[in-house]
Amino acid sequence: MDFGFVLSQILTGLSSASSLFLIASGLTIIFGVTRIVNFAHGSLYMLGAYCAYTATESLMAILGSSLGFWVGILLTAVFVGLIGLFLEFFLLRWLYKSPELFQLLATFGVVLIVQDLVPFLWGGEDLLGPRAPGFKGAIEILGWSFPRYELFMILIGPCIWGGLWLLFHKTRWGILVRAATEDRETVATLGINQAWLFRSVLFLGAFLAGLAGALQLPKEPANSLMDINIIAEAFVVTVIGGMGSVTGAFLAALLIGLLQAFGILIFPKITLVFIFLVMAFVLMIRPNGLLGKYQTVETYSKQNEGPHDLTFITLPRIFITLGVCALLPLGLGDFEIFVLTEILVFALFAFSLNFLMGFGGMISFGHAAYFGLGAYAAALMTHHFQAGLPLALFASPILPLIAAALFGWFCTRMSGVYLAMLTLAFAQILWSIAFQWVALTGGDNGLIGIWPPKILSDRLLFYYFALSLIGFVFILLYKITLSPFGLLLRAARDSSKRLSADGVHVGHLRWAAFLIAGASAGLAGGLYSFAKGSIDPHILSIPLSVDGLSMVLMGGIQTLLGPLMGSAALTFLKTTVMSLTENWRFFMGSAIVFLVLVFPRGLVGSLIHVFALRKAARSEKTERSS
């Protein structure tokens, strides 16, 4: 390898690093101040690319190619910033008092809406934008050609970083933002208008996303998959750097960019999983990222007071619910029963996630790992060992249990978003294994032919089979929630510091919860593969994890019935809308946004809240009259 090549590869790495930093910086700023996990950041980036296409096309005709191009890029960034402002004003600000992560669900709705809006506005074809005037072609560096635009990109990253540094250290606004990043309560008490602080931060974050998208245009055509393709990487860079740290994001982008440039020389097939391996590695060494500060989230937090239905739900009432579920499919056709089966299976998946998240306080962005592993366990038993359904279903919680034991051991050492991102990293690693180990898993084509035996091949019988199994596990999980273990798990969620001082090793407790959640998600996965007949790596992927999160949040986190309601609502919505229109993403996204705004505590959570308010009003009345 000659020196010219190494230098050229380093420069290439630096250029990718700049791109990554641009998108990650906005994300990290938004998270740092508002604690919003903005899934729609990729959508803003994509909008940046599309808007830049339109803006440069028209402005280059009016203002001339050079001026038109750069004015177009800048206008685009401002415009996308305004979209961010719009989102804050009409959506996010209504959700600041909702349970943690509820904004995530809202931004997920926005992702779906934008996915359908973009082809509607710009058409489905990829739009190849103009090359940057003044940066066309290449220069020669030690015998290797290097594109001028890449050199420009190398410079833009540090410039933006420097600009942000000045902004945050030399302006009153920036200092306030930094103070808010460190400690939200303090800023609230200083009498600063928090609303405008949040709003301006969303503008800045969206501006940076738009700029990143616009500057990508000379390298990549605007296309409708840009959002999905960038968002995971943006999160990875943000997390490696330490959530909320701009300089951390800068370092993380450099790390990823350079490692990737040389990594593919040695392992050309590592591309799918590379950045997640780096993230897992960094988080194991530095649980708060490179420059992240240790988060003391365990003050007396209002967020822990989610409404819950634990006192309302009793065993007889669970049996009544199961009885209703047993009556539902009567008189319906195969398809409807199939949908109901899917609802049940996802309800178990969501319930296991809620056990971890709602009761255990451990957010997981990668719960599909266990669901998918369960499905793969069942499918592999069927496929490679010709095992029947009983053996395959028996295996389905075992494999996830082993994975949960391993992953949980690392994950339970951290908390909050870092824990969530580590679960995501593990899920992505499993996903890429399923994707690339073609001989075992069939690769992205997946495994087919996983059907239940003749006796259960009738959709109705399979429904009852699934219902009895899921009902059993549901009751088991219900029992565990109310048992000493469940009580202490909830106590650990409310204050792990307190419980630890009371004599429980919180890490062990959470690890056990991880195992329980993993195994029950696995069983759901096993049932799923028999209901569908075929599986592919999609069931280990981020979108399925997000589906699970959406179900939990939409149903009402920390509630027992929430996951069932969330699964029913989401599956039902998707099926209905998908059979009515191809623009189902738009309608589904709108429905999510609508539900989030109307039921800011989730469906069940909001209902309980109504009852609690009523009860409070009634007891107040009786107190006054007595």
């Binding site: 003050t299 009580l487 409310d494 204050s495 510091k497 307190r498 419980l499 001082a501 004599g503």
Partner: protein, 259 residues
């Protein structure tokens, strides 16, 4: 420095802290701190903000581990042990910012404390409310929360949260109670009553009390002995009357405050 042992030499020392050090980066939070706590004693640690009181308590409680030095409870070495180990060894504690379980009722919170300290965490089927019912009810009554036992901790007044924490700390029948600012954030009238409550309970159960406190009235009324911590070091230690008179203490810490 005068020996404080005159006051307590007849009693056996329960907790021994020897040459404790803790740094946060370049900042020395605790420098070479040594002291003993005797059976049944009420020892107060006072000092200005940032003197290292909470750090000191977190070192003893296991929330932090020391860079140097030793902590012994009787013959048992507690240095660098995790909080659950220390709790089971017989040190109960409360935190400066009261930490109760917001989503649990008072009864469940105290029950959780019993389950925790007795090592009953890994029971999965039998409902938790069947465990330690009488003990829980009695303890809640003792800390004066009998009327509120079915209320959520999140709904309680701050003073009542402090009482819940006290109950939780007492669930394991500890030999030592560590209280980091037991009355911080409470109304003046409530402070004395809570502190009297604490003192009475600890006397009944023969628990040694180690506490920090901002309210000097509380300190001087209840402490048997006082340690003054300044910039991570012990400035002086002794009985309340001597501390009140100590010119150095008055200069550095108490300022013009007439005692």
């Amino acid at each position: 420095m005068d020996s404080p042992l005159s006051l307590a030499s007849s009693r056996t020392s329960l907790l021994k802290v020897k040459a404790l050090c803790k740094n946060f980066g370049a900042f020395e939070a605790i420098k070479n701190v040594s002291f003993s706590l005797f059976e049944g004693e009420k020892l107060a640690v006072i000092g200005p903000n940032g003197a290292g009181k909470s750090t000191c308590f977190n070192l003893i409680g296991g929330q932090l581990s020391p860079d140097q030095g030793h902590i012994h409870l009787g013959d048992m070495d507690l240095t660098g042990k995790p909080p659950p180990f220390i709790a089971k060894a017989g040190i109960g504690r409360s935190f400066q910012i009261a930490a109760a379980y917001a989503s649990l009722t008072v009864e469940m919170a105290v029950q959780a404390a019993f389950l925790a300290i007795k090592g009953q965490a890994y029971h999965f089927i039998k409902p938790s409310h069947h465990y330690y019912r009488e003990d829980t009810a009695a303890l809640i009554e003792q800390v004066g929360l009998g009327a509120l036992s079915q209320r959520l901790c999140a709904e309680l007044a701050y003073g009542d949260v402090k009482r819940v924490e006290l109950a939780m700390a007492l669930a394991g029948n500890p030999r030592i109670l560590l209280m980091d600012e037991p009355t911080a954030g409470m109304a003046v009238a409530e402070r004395q009553s809570l502190m009297e409550h604490v003192v009475r309970l600890s006397q009944d159960r023969n628990i040694a009390l180690l506490f920090t406190e901002h309210d000097m009235d509380v300190v001087f009324r209840h402490a048997d002995r006082i340690i003054v911590l300044v910039r991570g070091q012990i400035l002086v230690e002794g009985p309340p009357d001597r501390i009140a008179q100590d010119p150095e203490v008055r200069a550095v810490y108490l300022g013009e405050d007439p005692l």
